[in-house]
Symmetry: C2
Subunit: 397 residues, 2 copies
């Protein structure tokens, strides 16, 4: 499946988007911080949310709305996450959705809401209400939408993929507090395929699990993590449900797009200079493989070594050792940028200078074989730079 | 219990120590990298080790020796950890202990061995053997021992405490790859009290669990983590075992010294500029309290915010939310440097400038009340600085 990175959420037919600047997000390029995405017609909808116990108001609101009926639009503000804000936060979130639904001309209960930014601050409702009329909803609005949802992201993250006569489009934001747990940061996907709701939900959960849920920038899960897909059927054809000839193509296309967006998030992690792909093979269970991918991608020491192009594979061994996953010590093997550095319980005689040169590129691979079974997992992370610290020492104030 | 930070491992009677420079550790101040600590008489001994599956050769060697009889000395080298080095690493470790036992004039099997430094390199045995005769074992050697075991530590970490007529002394090293799991980095404690072996073992395990095992610099557990205590009885008196009038004083003194050393490790974490004390109260279980302390002390985002004196308590809420611990959301409260910033589900009206000023000190406190029970835990960590990244991007090469 070929993902077109220039595609976006309005690439599929029948979707409109637009954005405006409400003055909430005071940092970053391209001053947009309020956006709406809406389908011209009713949709099937699937969504996954953070498992954080202290989650944002928007998560409660969207869960409640989706329990009643599918949605067909979402309003997103960047700069304030409206999390840990109590009942006032809930009222503000409902009001923001109501204002956006009125702007888009759809019923209130079909408009979802997402907020991203600093935790513990109330939404500046006057600013947001004042900016709402400036949002122009058009079929060309996908790129504006992708820019408006950014916080410390350095670039928009979008893509589209085709299967059969249909298109799936997507946009997401990442950067910091990225370690999705059963959901993701913010990701919005659209398709003009007619996908039946149960089929959409199952395919989306599996795709999210193998993409966004295996990305980590810093091990911190956000209270706002949300991924939503809208399927509006605007391109016609029979409803796609389990057993439809295009059902597996749909799932493969959706997975390819989610993996593309997930890698974009890792590559643009706060302060990141490299995308790191972690592959674990030979695991006894899928859970072991995923657990080790997660631990490798969150090691301060390994992330620092990769930043310095330092082939210090002992830090990979240290993570394997503390991981608690099943392994056959004599069969454990470690590859760094395709070079075998450890096997049969001892270092190999690799050339550290050549390996360091390979690690100086923008793409680094870490592969671990555990020798304990046949399960595998692949996930993504980034290096840890001094820039990450300065971004996060100064983000709030 | 008053800990004297100027005390050391030879403060208790009947212990000798000394150090030399073998040329293995090529960075850092005060060029010492090989040290011996030994008791003039037989000891009770207790030790706890890393749970890492891919642990260092020294851990296997010391476990095997202690399974047969108590030890009375330890040789430590800094610069190479002799971990992930296979059978050659085991042979090298036994040989290093043999050389040190000969130097100290005690049986081979009473000399333990610890190695700290880079993983996956073999011990330079010729250099170590050549330096061994330069080690002078004296009752004044404690400070030299503490300097020689340092890697990226910026200062030695020692202390001593008295109970009844007895003294307990200690030294440890920390800095990076610090997130002890049922053991610790390297810590060496000595006492001239006559403590029966089972009593020593039980008291030491509890003290380590409430001190070193609640310290984290970077969430990475070392394959070499080891804590050892030698009790030689040189100060005379009845053997202390469970029920002895001084047994509880001994445990309290031991705990106070371990907490002192643990805090020293956190304060001198790689790149650290602040000691951060994390307290969790109102937890449903002791495990919940300890788990949340650990998660708080390892959050990249929270550690960065503390480095920047940024009162961004939303990052504390995010960690609580993702922790999975039991909580009563309406009863959760967060204090930062003694200022209540969050309660009853929403932010308080604190003064961010005054709080930021308080956070600019070298000691920061984070307190979380969960409202779910009566259990509590306290642990220690440090801030995350750009300096941590540069230390660890360049450590190996």
């Amino acid at each position: 499946m070929q993902v077109d990175p220039a595609g976006h959420v309005t690439s599929p037919r029948g979707f409109l988007a637009g954005a405006a600047y409400a003055g909430v997000k005071t940092y970053g390029e391209g001053k947009l911080d309020l956006a709406i995405l809406v389908s011209e017609r009713p949709c099937s909808t699937a969504a996954v949310f953070t498992r954080s116990r202290l989650h944002a108001a928007a998560v409660d609101i969207d869960r409640a709305k989706l329990a009643v009926r599918p949605a067909r639009g979402v309003v997103v503000n960047a700069g304030v996450a409206n999390a840990s804000t109590g009942e006032r936060g809930m009222a503000d979130g409902y009001e923001l959705a109501r204002l956006a639904a009125a702007r888009a001309g759809i019923p209130d209960d079909e408009m979802l809401v997402c907020s991203t930014g600093v935790i513990g601050h109330f939404l500046p409702m006057e600013k947001l209400a004042a900016a709402m009329p400036a949002i122009e909803l058009t079929p060309a609005g996908g790129p504006l939408f992708a820019r408006a949802i950014m916080t410390t992201d350095t670039r928009p993250k979008t893509g589209a993929v085709r299967f059969g006569p249909y298109t799936i489009g997507g946009a997401c934001k990442g950067s910091g507090m990225i370690h999705p747990d059963m959901a993701t940061m913010l990701a919005f996907l659209t398709t003009d395929a007619p996908v039946e709701n149960a089929c959409l939900d199952a395919a989306f959960r599996r795709a999210v699990d193998d993409s966004f849920n295996l990305v980590s920038v810093d091990g911190d899960t956000s209270p706002s993590d949300t991924a939503v897909i809208f399927a509006n059927g605007a391109a016609g054809g029979d409803m796609i449900s389990a057993g439809h000839p295009l059902a597996s193509d749909f799932e493969a296309a959706l997975r390819a797009l989610c993996v593309h967006l997930a890698k974009e998030i890792a590559r643009d992690g706060e302060g990141a200079t490299k995308l790191v792909e972690f592959t674990v093979t030979g695991a006894a269970t899928p859970e072991d493989a995923r657990r080790l991918v997660r631990l490798l991608s969150t090691s301060y020491l390994l992330k620092s070594a990769i930043h310095g192009a330092d082939p210090n594979w002992g830090r990979i061994a240290a993570v394997i050792g503390r991981s608690g996953v099943q392994l056959d010590e004599a069969a454990v093997a470690i590859d760094l940028c395709g070079t075998r550095v450890y096997e049969r319980g001892r270092p190999t005689a690799f050339d550290p200078d050549a390996l360091s040169a390979a690690m100086r590129g923008t793409d680094v691979t870490v592969a671990v074989h555990l020798g304990a079974g046949r399960e595998a997992a692949t996930g993504w992370g980034c290096d840890l730079s001094a820039e990450y610290v300065s971004i996060n020492a100064d983000y709030h104030t």
